[in-house]
Structure formats: C-alpha cells, structure tokens
Subunit: 334 residues, 2 copies
C-alpha cells in the first residue's frame, strides 16, 4: 500500500488563544485498505476554512470537537482508487470530508460524485461547495436583497465573500466589500464587480465605509466580526438584515464581537441571524445548480490561494485565520 500522510491535532490551543504550528503534527502510515462497502479516495485538494479553528477547541459548539491524534477535519476532492461500494468505481472523481490527509476511507455516505464538465475539481471545495452554498443561503434565505438595496460583506475577497458579492449584485443590489489591504480591495471592484470595497486596515476605515455606503446598509453578510462588524452595524438602515456567518476576528482571540446596545435592534427593527450551511442541506442541490448556471454564463469569478503538499497545511491554515490568503485557500495534495 502507498504511504498516507496526515496532519493530526496534537494539542488544543485553548479557547481564545492563538493556534500555532505546535498544535499540529505530521503522521505517516500505510494507506488503509477498504473494508466491505468502503471506498479509498486519493485526494487531489484539501479545503481550509475558518470553521476548523472552532473544532480545535474542546468546547460545546454545533459540531463535535476534533479528536486529538486524529486527522484534522476538512473537505476534500479526489479520485476513487479502490472500491468495495457498488456506487463508486475506481477513477470516479468525488468530493467528501476526507480530512487533512492524502488518502481517506469512506463508506460512501459522505461522498458525492463530481462531473467536472470542464471545471477544475477544486471548484467543488469553493464556489460549488460549502463556501458557495454558504454564500447562496445567506444571501437568498436570510438577507434576500431587493434591487436598489445596499449589501455589505466582510472578507469580501474570500471564498464566501466573493460569491456573496456577485450573487447580491446579480440580485440588483449595490455591493460594498470590506477586505484587508488595497490589493484585495482593487480586486473586489475590478474582478468581482463590487460597487465599492473598503480596506479595514485603513485608519479612517469607518469614514471610508460611510462614504462607500452613502444610503446606509440594508443587508450585512458578516464573516469577520470585531471592528468590521462594529462599523457596518452602525450604518444599518431600518429593517436591516444581518446574516452572521463567521466571526474570524474572534477565533484567535484578537477581537471580541459584541452588540453594545440592543436598542439599535429595536429602533431599527433589525434581524440578526446566525446560520451554518449544514443546517440547510435541503437547499444544496438548488444552490449548486444556480451557482453552476452563473459559472456557465461567465458571471461568477473566483480566485484561489494554493499551498503545495500536506506539510504546508498548518501554516496555510494559520495564514487564513489572519487573512493572508487571497481567495479560496486550498492545499494541493498531488
């Protein structure tokens, strides 16, 4: 059998402490052989996503904590290399939750076959996968922007934010991105079609945001929290909707995210809703179909940051938590 390399959780960083490279370790073992009904998948790409930071904690959350000594959880795409499951044949391209490793066994329940149709397989980890469906659910089922409204999104060039902006624009909204640094902001406007994008690292960030959303904000797709949320929340109009998708500024303890005065929720009749795409699996096929149609029409753009090799995953993940990626963060595994 070939050798499987995996990155396991070696230790927990503790609640709000910064995760570091020391929390991960590399393990090499022979790749497992599939048992009855099982499939062995060789991974092409691993997806890195902010939610993984939460799994490293030993705290109650919507998902079980990541076990120590086990491969980190993560979405993957790859190819079936051995199969005892009649639904999957050797050579099939599949997406699944194979984790931070080169090979994974699956009983088929978590695997979905991919028909690439000319698209790169890693699109099923981004625009046609969890991030794309997350964007679709938040925009269409929580914010539901009307033509002429203003929608703002933080981490606007990230895997989720970039799709949020384009879906909202397609719905007729004015779109305002929030991103870190002038290069990302320029990309948001020029390539992703945002009407404006504001650099949250700028000293006069709040003023710039106000200027970029002169009519206020009707929908806020929040990925970051902290000062990004504070500034955007102050610009919310009556009946504003906040789709709370992530608070990455909090995950490493850098910035807390609070709502200091609930009166604004009452006076402005705001709706603030936390959501997780895995609660909306029923919408997945519809969302992927619509996203795929937009891609086919050339109306959906995205960008990838690709780390090379499983050994690079921990550093790439820590970079993601600090916004050092530019677009969807992937790890190329073969």
């Amino acid at each position: 059998m070939p050798t499987n390399k995996k990155i396991v959780l070696a230790s927990r960083p503790g609640g709000d402490a910064r995760a570091t490279l020391e929390n991960f370790s590399l393990v090499e073992l022979p790749a497992p052989e599939p048992g009855p009904g099982q499939v062995l998948v060789r991974h092409d790409y691993l997806s890195l996503d902010p939610y993984m930071r939460g799994r490293m904690n030993d705290s109650k959350s919507y998902a079980a904590a990541q076990s120590l000594g086990e491969a980190m959880v993560g979405g993957t795409v790859g190819e079936v290399v051995a199969s005892n499951n009649p639904k999957f044949a050797v050579g099939d391209k599949v997406a699944g939750m194979g984790g931070w490793q080169l090979y994974a066994l699956d009983d088929g329940a978590q695997l979905r076959k991919i028909e690439p149709n000319g698209l790169p397989v890693q699109a099923w980890l981004g625009v046609l996968g969890m991030p794309g469906v997350t964007a679709w659910v938040g925009v269409n089922r929580i914010i539901a922007p009307k033509a002429g409204e203003t929608l703002a999104v933080s981490a606007a060039t990230g895997a989720v934010g970039s799709i949020v902006g384009q879906l909202a624009k397609a719905a007729g909204a004015r779109t305002v991105g929030i991103a870190g640094g002038p290069e990302k902001c320029a990309y948001a406007v020029e390539a992703l079609g945002f009407d404006a994008c504001v650099d949250h690292r700028a000293e006069n960030f709040a003023d710039l945001l106000k200027a970029a959303a002169p009519d206020g904000i009707d929908g806020l797709f929040e990925n970051v929290g902290g000062k990004c949320f504070d500034a955007a929340a102050r610009r919310l109009n009556d009946f504003g909707r906040v789709a709370l998708c992530g608070l990455v500024a909090s995950y490493q303890g850098a910035e807390s995210s609070s709502l200091r005065d609930l009166r604004v929720v009452l006076v402005r009749r705001l709706k603030i809703q936390g959501f997780i795409v895995f609660d909306h699996l029923d919408l997945w096929p519809k969302a992927v179909a619509e996203l795929g149609a937009l891609i086919a029409q050339g109306k959906l753009h995205w960008r990838e940051s690709i780390a090379e090799g499983i050994e690079a995953a921990p550093a790439a993940f820590l970079g993601l938590l600090e916004g050092r990626n530019f677009g969807k963060q992937l790890v190329k595994l073969r």
Copy 2:
C-alpha cells in the same frame, strides 16, 4: 364649548436620564370645534405604554419625537361628540391616537369605529389594541412556537406579556414568565396559565429561570432587557428566536442591554429580531379577529391598572416604567 384638559411635554429628560413629574404640565383650554371633515372625540380612556418614554427624547427613532408644549401622544378610546365627517356620527364609539387629553380632533384617518359587543371599550387599548396585536405579531410571525417548545416572556403580566403567554400556550408551547414580585408571578401561573413564572427580583433569579426552563428556551419575547434578557439569552437553545419588542429596563437608564459575545448567535444559530407593531398594520384585522375569537371562547384573560383622571397620567406613566402597574395601564377620563 367644554374645557379640554391636556398633559403636555414641558421639558425633555435627556437621553437615558429618568423622566420625572417635572417633565409634564397640565394645560386647560376650551375644547376645539371640528373643522371641515373633522370629528371631535371625548375620551373615555387613555392608554399608557412604555414606548412613550422614547418619544420624550429628542433623538432619532422610528417615530418622530414628541413636540414640546403639545399633548403627549397616546392611544385613546372615546365617543364622537361632534362630527363634520360623514363616516362618523355623534355617539359612535371610536379608538384613535387622541393623546393625553380629554378631547381630541381627528380628520378620521386615525379613527376606527368600535363595536363593543359586550366588551368594555378599553379592551381596544389592550387585548384588542396595540398591545394585543403586538403580542400576536411577535408570537406568530417572529417566534412561531412549535408544540413542545419553551417560550419565555419578560413583563409577563403586562399588557403585552400576558397575551404573549396565552397565545403561546394555545400554540402548544411550554410558557415561562418573568415578572417582578411574587404576587405577579402567582397571577401569571394561576390566572394566565403560564407553566412557570420567575421573579426577576429574586436573588437567585438566574438559577430559578434555569429550573423553570429545564429544556432551555426556544422563543424569547423580550420586553425588558437588562438582567432579564441576560439570564434568558443564556438559556436559548439552538435555533432560538428572540422577538425584541421592548427594553424598558433601559428607558430610564437603569440597565443597559447588550449582547456581549456574538459567538452565541453563530454557534446556536439564533435569530434576534426587533419589531414594532406599526410596521405590521396589514396583520391588524387578522390579529384582532383571532384575539376576539379567543375572548369569546373565554380563553384570554387580562387585568387592568386604572388611574383616575388626566391629572393622574404622569405619575401612572412613571410607575409603568418601573413596573408598579399590574396588567394594562389605563387612565380613566370620564
């Protein structure tokens, strides 16, 4: 013409400061004569409601600030005593927004005719008026409790909270009230049918609330804020819904209301929605019809605190802000 007595706003208390009797003054003038299309109403009852505290401030809100020197705004029921409007005849019972005074002119646009059908006219200021419709909208359109879920409501014996509890109970929910003092708590359980009611003045309030809602809280109808909200929010289950209707603990600067860590909204996928009944006027007839049907079936109970005479309105209003009323606070004007 008879004499009209009115209570006008003499001065503003300033943002979070306590309103006092000195902010009001009594003015006597001849009652006005109706002009073309106008109706003169003699008031039977004035409604006192927490929202009026916000109108006393000179700050941006969902409604215009109350003008200095003018009669305080307020819901009223009364009888038409002179009419130049073909839609209203002398002797008609009407509900409107006549303000804190004995007589008011109206061009008919804000007046609704009442058919008492054996009910006291002041019911149109409570269970069949703004408080009842507020309860109906928050319960049915924001929280939407399912059978077996737990719904908690603060100010549980108040004009809104008492109806919230009974509507939620009718929908099959377990109902937990929060109220001030043992007498109100006993009434909530014995007369209003709450499954439990917790005294927020008790030293171990948070523990009592936990015991009263052993399966957590699925829907929270929030009228008070401050420590009532803090304790209830900590008990919210996954997919919990908060209908934010009022924050009376903040209105006089006693307690601020914040959400200290937004992560709970994300992790528990909460929905927090501020609302005001006047944004839902389209639902008014449906709500009143359903509330009326429940009354006819003997399934809806309420209680009134009645102050006597317009001169008593300011003190009764300040008492309301401190929870000294017991049930719907009214002022009897004739």
